[in-house]
Amino acid sequence: DQQVKQNSPSLSVQEGRISILNCDYTNSMFDYFLWYKKYPAEGPTFLISISSIKDKNEDGRFTVFLNKSAKHLSLHIVPSQPGDSAVYFCAAKRGDSNYQLIWGAGTKLIIKP
């Protein structure tokens, strides 16, 4: 039972344009969502998070949008840079859980020069 889904295994975007990565979830108990970026041979690196009481959080070139009614969140990267090429994971945490992050399968983002 996949509670967090990233339906696009890969995404190719031109340098300088906007990258939009999507994530859907099924569990209404999730109240905190995170995006991580992962390069090969490295561990995931925290990018940005959002609480379920908000619908938008921005940090520099990265913005996360949350649509609770649709159980959908998205990560926008503007403008996209070559160093953004990586695998992006969406993760979620339940409000009644102190520990467990539930992860999507990841989307590989390729930024074309």
Partner: protein
């Protein structure tokens, strides 16, 4: 400040053997979590420890065990290795548990079981 460190970086074992993976959290972090990442999937939660006590366990068999030491470092042990245990094992640390704590990950230990 050093990030989360893990050792070894790579490991090859045969079926039935035992393995111990090690993790040192970021200085000041008291919580350590372990995840298994199989190729093409997101990380799967195995354990979380806080102040040397197990705070959470994922859906993994009893062959998997862990502990946390007084200096907050941690070990993950896997007994009777199976081919399906081949994966990247990730350790993450956070200052506390609960709420909206961000977890910071180490580079992982890649385990291959032959």
């Amino acid at each position: 400040d050093a990030g989360v460190t893990q050792s070894p970086t790579h490991l090859i074992k045969t079926r039935g053997q035992h393995v111990t993976l090690r993790c040192s959290p970021i200085s000041g972090h008291k919580s350590v979590s372990w995840y298994q990442q199989v190729l093409g999937q997101g990380p799967q939660f195995i354990f979380q420890y806080y102040e040397k006590e197990e705070r959470g366990r994922g859906n993994f068999p009893d062959r998997f065990s862990a502990r946390q030491f007084p200096n907050y470092s941690s070990e993950l042990n896997v007994n009777a290795l199976l081919l399906g245990d081949s994966a990247l094992y990730l350790c993450a640390s956070s200052p506390q548990v609960g709420g909206q704590e961000t977890q910071y990950f180490g580079p992982g230990t890649r385990l291959l079981v032959l």
